[in-house]
């Protein structure tokens, strides 16, 4: 019996003697919070902030903003396989069926806050380092604040009322920060503060060409200020122009210009060709790369739908220049834009680009049947390359794409894109922002040479716009504004010239809509555009812009819900 008891006890002991450590499992393949605070890892976290610049996707392309700023501006149609192909973008384009549940707005909101969260986390890590440990402390702080400013800038122009989260706010209280905790004015000031800090503490040049510089920060500060300068009321009406801010814009642009780091490229085309990456016109650009060890390269995925449907490409025909935009490139006998009459006769259905004269930027911007595609005389764009001509016609956008033979071209079937950089601010933008500030300040005469400088370069940009036989692709004529000779340079005229120049210079680059909203003309402009353009294309049926509402995207219903109603919907929605 004793043996039995001993045996039983023995087995019972085996059973209950297991050690506590059995449950200790070390997570595999991960980094712990305590590993982060080393100079190398702080630097790495700054890289993560930069990575957010180009981590977008075709469904929410914030790197170029084409789906938000181009197809909503009258410059472009959505394109693709009919209105049902990414129907959310169709809703953006026609405005009347836009609503707070559409995915791209929510995703873009989220992804931009991912970038902001990286920035705040990096700022906290940096502030935990001493100058001795981390000699780059100040400069890296400035870089991160520049990037945070960029992400907030995009959120601000898209959504207007956004929650401001910075590194001083503990994560546990994020859910107490409303999108209306700060006024629109205060938000702009906060964004400007980030850029001010950056411009004060960044070097003029950086060894790593992808890093933000003093010039980039000054230019972006100017950009934020110029939006801020057009004051808006709570119904999105522009109520006035803050000339003090315009003066600051002017000063900032001057700093950039006088740094002598930046200049216009000799040929407009250079801005959109991969071999000229990090050229002196690219004040700040997103750096893309390929053959970099990532699955398909860190390429410009935001533009991956914008290629034509021929055998060398094959997808997806999005981002189509509107007839209105093409007509805007017409020039008069003086080589000047036809402010009021450009759209009277539609040149697109005629396919005739020789009777009229055109601004050369037309063929840098739009792919037109019979014209060389991306400057390749042996690769002529065909009407059959169009995706859905019955909805969107035969044109396509050119600035963002590359020739398929270019080393930067990258396929990720069914899509494709390139490692060509994408400039967020070009030097011509700095010149035209300065011009705009001056005009608003009543100093239009000083703005004139700036606008003409941009037009001068355009005039020099026809070398690549030739057909196989060497003749010009279209009939180009561009002239400078010569007060007293071909125009009367009043403030109103200058303003009109400036706004038209911005349209032609930055067409299809993603910000046109935000210009229209900033100037307070979006509703009138777009409703007039719809009235005519609806007669040219079926897909705009029903399109209409609601003033006091459509200037901004609605706050995503998801975010309002997740915030338990703390977030308030935008005006008019």
């Amino acid at each position: 019996m004793k043996n039995i008891i001993y045996t039983t006890v023995f087995f019972a002991c085996i059973m209950f003697a297991s050690c506590k450590k059995y449950l200790n499992e070390t997570p595999q393949g991960v980094i712990f919070t305590q590993n982060l605070s080393t100079p190398a890892n702080v630097d790495a976290q700054v890289i993560a902030c930069y990575s957010s610049l180009g981590n977008d996707h075709y469904y929410s392309p914030w790197s170029s903003m084409w789906a938000f700023g181009s197809i909503r501006s009258g410059d472009a149609y959505k394109g693709g396989g009919g209105p049902g192909d990414i129907s959310e973008f169709h809703a953006y384009e026609v405005f009347n069926i836009n609503n707070p549940t559409l995915g791209p707005g929510d995703q873009t909101w989220y992804q931009l806050y991912v970038g902001i969260a990286y920035c705040n986390s990096a700022l906290n890590l940096i502030s935990g380092m001493t100058d001795q440990q981390y000699p780059n402390k100040l400069q890296r702080t400035a870089e991160v604040r520049f990037l945070r400013g960029h992400f907030y800038f995009l959120l601000k122009i898209l959504f207007n009322h956004i929650p401001w989260i910075d590194e001083t706010i503990p994560k546990t209280t994020y859910d107490t920060v409303s999108n209306v905790s700060f006024t629109s004015d205060a938000l702009w000031t906060k964004i400007e503060n980030d850029f001010s800090f950056a411009s004060a503490n960044l070097p003029v040049t950086q060894t790593d060409l992808g890093r933000a510089t003093k010039g980039a920060a000054q230019a972006y500060l100017a950009k934020a200020l110029i939006y801020h300068a057009y004051t808006q009321d709570n119904s999105n009406n522009v109520t006035g122009v803050d000339l003090t801010k315009m003066a600051q814009v002017n000063t900032m642009c001057d700093s950039v210009i006088n740094s002598n780091v930046y200049s216009l490229m000799p040929d407009f085309a250079d801005n959109f060709l991969p071999q000229y990456r990090n050229n002196p016109e690219a004040v700040f650009a997103i750096q893309y790369s390929k053959n970099d060890g990532t699955p398909q390269g860190r390429v410009d995925a935001g533009h991956c739908l914008d290629y034509p449907m021929d055998g060398e490409y094959g997808c997806c025909g999005f981002h189509v220049p509107s007839d209105n935009l093409v007509n805007a490139f017409k020039t008069d006998a003086n080589g000047l834009p036809m402010f009021n009459t450009f759209n009277t006769n539609d040149v697109v259905p005629t396919g005739d680009y020789t009777t009229n004269t055109f601004d050369p930027r037309l063929d840098h911007t739009a792919a037109i049947p019979g014209h060389p595609y991306k400057y390749q005389t042996d690769l002529v764009y065909q009407g059959s390359w169009a995706r859905q001509p019955q909805s969107y016609g035969y044109l396509l956008s050119l600035k963002e794409v590359v020739n398929y033979r270019d080393p930067s071209f990258q396929r990720f079937p069914p899509f494709m894109s390139s490692s060509k950089n994408w400039a967020i601010i070009r030097y011509s933008d700095v010149l035209l922002m300065k011009a705009e500030a001056l005009i608003e300040m009543g100093q239009q005469d000083q703005a004139l040479p700036l606008i003409n400088q941009v037009r001068q370069r355009t005039g020099n940009s026809t070398a690549l716009l030739v057909k196989a036989d060497g003749t010009p692709t279209s009939n180009y004529k561009i002239g400078k504004y010569q007060p007293g000779v071909n125009c009367t340079w009043t403030q109103d005229f200058a303003r009109q010239a400036l706004r038209f120049e911005r349209r032609l210079e930055f067409a299809m680059e993603g910000y046109r809509f935000f210009d229209l909203v900033r100037w307070g003309i979006a509703a009138d402009y777009l409703n007039s555009y719809f009235a005519v353009e609806q007669t040219r294309t079926p897909h705009l049926a029903g399109a209409s812009f609601t003033k006091g509402r459509d200037e901004y995207l609605p706050i995503s219903q998801n975010q309002i819900n997740f915030s338990k109603g703390l977030y308030k919907q935008n005006a008019g929605w």
Partner: protein, 1022 residues
């Protein structure tokens, strides 16, 4: 039913004497070898002739037990000398031994809700997964499956228990696993027992919340050497196809849509129309189809029936051979199985080879038993993008030919959606195979310290690995093309090591019967994976497509993870006088997944039973009642099914990710601006830890009764349960400002299911030769969300604020109410503002009455839960024939018909093909139609989640019908232990609601279609 027992001979002796006897099977009338005959502490086993002899005193009871047979108890009288028993197959017997978790009980002593599956009903169904065949056979157990060849299924028990995985825990020969049963050879399964309630399942504690299914595999039978061979061949076909438009019809629908939009229909690039050009009263004379689809004249216009191009009638074969033997000192079973399933989608194939070796050895007069169960499964699957192929076969334009005139791939041209040619997807992927190997088994030792005190220790190993190698081939298909040739290889393995030790003590004193079990169990899981890919292959050939052949874009990846469980448990069963039953269970489970404060969870349970039929007053008053037992059980079970390291805040460097369909999640950036070369990389938070995480707990009460009437001709049971899960682990969507890695697991939600389940069997004879057995079951549950933290409400149906899923079923459906179509100008003018409204457009209800249709006009419009589910099995036996059929159904509940995007609209996927229903769409001339007017522009946002897409999910299916003939009594087969041939069919008929427009309500959208399977097979035993 108690076994028939014949006392043949009588003699008078007192005290201990030798009793001899023989045992036969009542069904086969053949001698039964290996039957355990127990009297007191003596046990003998019958020999190959079924004979035994044992010393026993008069007045004592003798017990004969044999797996799969009803246990026979017999009291030896002074007269007993030679006895003969005919044992009956245990189908519904109260003495049947039921494995209930680390131990076993007689069915009549059970106090929990346990269902023993009748293996005979399902053993010949060639579905590749025993669980698939169980759909509708066990009340409360719901199997969701599709025609997927590898047989993976979803299993829910008693409704949705948790918001995480609802798959039950399988205990295979005592070893817990959560991998599916498709990886186990169905023929190797001796028994399946389903523990439905917590009092039965809670001995398995931490992972038992969603139910426990106990599988016991076959072993050799004592005293018998036996060879079993099963063979079957099946033909499969899919009998209810969707009806996409043909080329002519597609042209017609396009014309109608364009005309409705006021657009010139000829502006489309493909079709030209001869029509009257009158938009107010359009008449189409002729659709003119061009000779070529494309401008380059490579594709002749076709009328391709894409589903026919990708599907086939296919053959499924199954072979099983098992050899077994058993002696007093041990038994051995060896089996091999081969299963080859060619799917109804061309080139799809699943081949499965299984082998099993189960053996045990007894030493020291049976006091020490050592054994093992070991199985190996190899599966080879052709990996096709089945979902894409099936969907594409519905939406690819019929005008596209399969091949170009030069033999290339047909594909989309301008004006069509960017859809792949599904035939190409088959042809260019058929060389890609996944190889799966699973080794699963346990070794155990069982030591009888005393005859009634056993120590058992069992070590289990479960290793499953996948090796997948594929080649991505270049193609040109219409405007789609890819120049990439890429070799991909990946390997992942998942291993579980488990060890459990139990002490089991039995005590029978007079009318008291006590069983005590204490035990300990430890489980460790590990998984790891790596993969690579490379391009630049010299040969575009699977035989060359190894990573070493790649010359550029060579990428690798890999990861790993693990978790551990450590548990202590105990169970006491007590029975008094076979009348009063009680059981108490306690399990303490520790998991590595929770923080050290909460790593242990305690899961108690108890249950009580009262066999009223044993009470004298019942016997007297209700003689027709042969058995009547009331049961009540209460218990708690747990769930820990979350990410392994959810308590910790973790970061990871992500260099770059596949950007084809998703955001680049990478944290690397080309900071140098060079445009190429290796990049510096940052890191990203991957989750926010919650150190306070604890077990999710399911508390379940079950009240049940088991009954047998008229000498157990009618048997059945009814159970009512209330199952409440609290602290449900959730990982909800979160406020965007938190950024990447803002996701946190926490204990948040509560759900309750209340339900009732009943099963009734009736066994009878019409004539001596014609007997039948009817078994019907019905189950119903109501799900209710009791609590969700307000943060996560929006992750579920509703608007998250005023209308939430709280108090409703978690399967509630929320959306707009479609009120038919606008059919008149007056109707349009008098209706609320609705952007995009027009004649023939869907009219949505203005639920809040503010005169505008917007997001606020949504409400709860139904739920997906069925009202009830049911099954009816009928088996008839006439002489050597057996006929059985099994009906299964679901009644009530709504489902979202994704197909309607295509069948009813030309605007939601304008570049795709559509369904024939579009030809009957609303027009002024066809005003009675309920299908919205065709349009190419979805201005009315009709793809919104609305009641238009909801359809009744009810169906009734003839799951299985089988006719078998027993050859055993025919001369020439008499020497065989078993000789049977059968024909059967699965999924032969289905009935669905008229309002349901999809081909198969059980299988919404693009999952692998469930085919009809017609089978011929034979079972032979030597």
């Amino acid at each position: 039913m108690i076994a028939v027992m014949l006392v043949l001979s009588v003699a008078a002796f007192s005290q201990t004497k030798k009793v001899t006897g023989s045992v036969i099977s009542k069904t086969s009338m053949a001698p039964l070898a290996g039957v355990s005959v127990t009297a007191g502490d003596k046990t003998v086993v019958t020999d190959s002739a079924g004979r035994f002899s044992i010393d026993v005193a008069a007045g004592k009871t003798m017990q004969l037990s044999f797996v799969g047979m009803n246990t026979v108890t017999f009291t030896v009288t002074k007269a007993t000398q030679t006895v003969s028993f005919a044992m009956e197959d245990a189908s519904n017997d109260l003495n049947q031994i039921v494995v209930t978790g680390y131990t076993s009980e007689r069915k009549k002593d059970l106090t929990g809700a346990v269902t023993v599956v009748k293996m005979d009903d399902i053993k010949d169904i060639p579905e590749g997964n025993a669980m698939k065949a169980l759909q509708g056979r066990v009340p409360g157990l719901f199997i969701s499956s599709n025609g997927n060849l590898n047989g993976d299924v979803g299993v829910t028990m008693r409704g949705i228990t948790t918001l995480n995985s609802n798959n039950p825990l399988y205990i295979i020969d005592g070893i817990p696993t959560q991998r599916g049963l498709q990886e186990i050879n169905q023929s190797d399964i001796e028994s399946i027992q389903v523990l439905r309630d917590a009092s039965a399942a809670s001995i398995y504690g931490s992972r038992a919340a969603a139910g426990v299914i106990i599988i016991t595999t076959k072993t050799g039978k004592k005293g018998r050497t036996r060879i079993d061979f099963d063979v079957s061949a099946s033909s499969q076909y899919f009998n209810s196809k969707l009806q996409p438009l043909n080329t002519q019809q597609h042209g017609q629908a396009y014309w109608q849509a364009a005309v409705n939009d006021g657009q010139d229909p000829n502006n489309n690039g493909i079709y030209t129309y001869d029509w009257n050009k009158d938009y107010s009263n359009p008449v189409l004379n002729k659709v003119i189809i061009p000779q070529y689809v494309d401008g380059a004249k490579t594709m002749l216009s076709a009328n391709t029936r894409w589903f026919d191009e990708i599907s086939q009638n296919s053959v499924l074969q199954s072979y099983n051979l098992s050899v077994s033997t058993g002696t007093d000192h041990g038994s051995t079973l060896f089996s091999v199985g081969f299963y080859d399933n060619n799917g109804i989608i061309k080139s799809s194939n699943d081949t499965k080879v299984t082998a099993r070796f189960n053996s045990d050895f007894s030493f020291f007069n049976n006091r020490l038993k050592v054994g093992e169960n070991f199985a190996a499964t190899y599966m080879n699957d052709v990996i096709l993008p089945i979902g894409d192929i099936f969907l594409l076969s519905q939406i690819e334009n019929p005008i596209i030919p399969v091949h170009t005139v030069t033999g290339g791939w047909g594909g989309p041209v301008a004006g069509m959606d960017d859809r792949q040619n599904p035939v190409r997807l088959i042809e260019q992927n058929q060389q890609n195979h996944n190889n799966f190997l699973r080794l699963f088994g346990n070794a155990y030792v069982d030591l009888a310290i005393l005859p009634n005190l056993h120590f058992k220790s069992s070590v289990g190993v479960d290793v499953a690995g996948n090796y997948f190698r594929s080649i991505q081939l270049p193609y040109t298909s219409g405007f789609l093309s890819s120049p990439i040739t890429q070799a991909n290889t990946s390997f992942d393995d998942e291993g579980t090591f488990s060890w459990h030790n139990t002490l089991n003590y039995d005590l029978n004193i007079k009318k008291h019967s006590l069983n005590v079990l204490v035990g300990e169990e430890q489980v460790k899981d590990k998984n790891q994976n790596f993969g690579g890919s490379g391009q630049g292959l010299t040969l575009a050939n699977i035989n060359y497509a190894y990573l070493s052949s790649a010359t550029n874009t060579i990428l690798v990846n890999g990861a790993g993870s693990g978790d551990a469980l450590l548990s202590y448990f105990g169970k006491v069963n007590y029975t008094y006088d076979n009348k009063y039953l009680a059981s108490v269970t306690l399990r303490d489970d520790g998991s590595s997944k929770f923080g050290s404060n909460n790593s242990y969870g305690l899961f108690p349970a108890y249950s009580l039973g009262w066999r009223l039929s044993q009470e004298g007053f019942v016997k007297k008053a209700l003689p027709m009642v042969s058995d009547f037992k009331l049961r009540y059980g209460w218990g708690q079970t747990g769930n820990q099914n979350i990410a392994n390291n959810a308590t910790q805040t973790l970061y990871r460097s992500i260099y770059g990710t596949d950007i084809t369909w998703n955001f680049n999640q990478g944290t690397a950036y080309n900071i140098s601006g060079s445009g190429t070369g290796s990049l510096p990389s940052g890191f990203t938070p991957i989750q926010s830890g919650n150190p306070n995480l604890k077990w999710e707990t399911t508390t379940q009460s079950n009240i049940g009764l088991d009954f047998g009437l008229f000498n157990n001709k009618i048997t059945g049971s009814v159970d009512y349960f209330v199952k409440t899960t609290t602290d449900i682990l959730i990982n909800p969507p979160y406020l965007a400002v938190l950024g990447q890695g803002g996701n946190t697991w926490f204990n948040g939600a509560s759900l309750r299911n209340k339900g009732i389940e009943a099963i009734v069997s009736y066994k009878g004879n019409i004539t001596r030769d014609l007997s039948f057995n009817l078994t019907g079951n019905i189950a119903s549950y109501r799900n209710k969300v009791l609590y969700l933290p307000s943060d996560v409400l929006t992750g579920y149906a509703g608007n998250g604020t005023t209308q939430t899923v709280l108090g409703r079923s978690v399967n509630s459906l929320y959306g707009y109410v479609a009120q038919g179509l606008f059919t008149s100008k007056a109707d349009l003018d008098n209706s609320p503002t609705q952007p995009g409204k027009g004649l023939g457009r869907i009219k949505y209800a203005d639920l809040n009455g503010d005169g505008v249709i917007d997001n606020n006009d949504q409400k709860f419009i139904g739920k997906a839960d069925p009202d009830f589910t049911y099954g009816l099995n009928v088996s008839l036996s006439y002489k050597n024939f057996d006929l059985s059929f099994f009906l299964q159904g679901v009644q009530g509940g709504l489902e979202y018909n994704n197909y309607k995007y295509l069948t009813d609209f030309t605007s939601l996927a304008p570049g795709s093909n559509w369904g024939v229903r579009t030809l009957d769409a609303w027009t002024v001339q066809n005003p009675k139609s309920t299908i919205p007017a065709l349009t190419l522009v979805n201005a009315n946002n009709e793809g919104r989640y609305s009641s238009y897409f909801l359809e009744s999910a009810s169906y009734l299916k003839l799951r299985n019908v089988q006719l078998a003939y027993n050859l055993k009594n025919i001369s020439g087969f008499k020497k065989l232990q078993r000789a049977r041939v059968y024909i059967q069919a699965s999924n032969l008929f289905k009935f669905k609601s008229k309002s349901n427009t999809m081909p198969d309500p059980e299988n919404p959208f693009s999952a692998y279609p469930i085919p009809v399977i017609a089978t011929i097979g034979a079972n032979i035993s030597l």
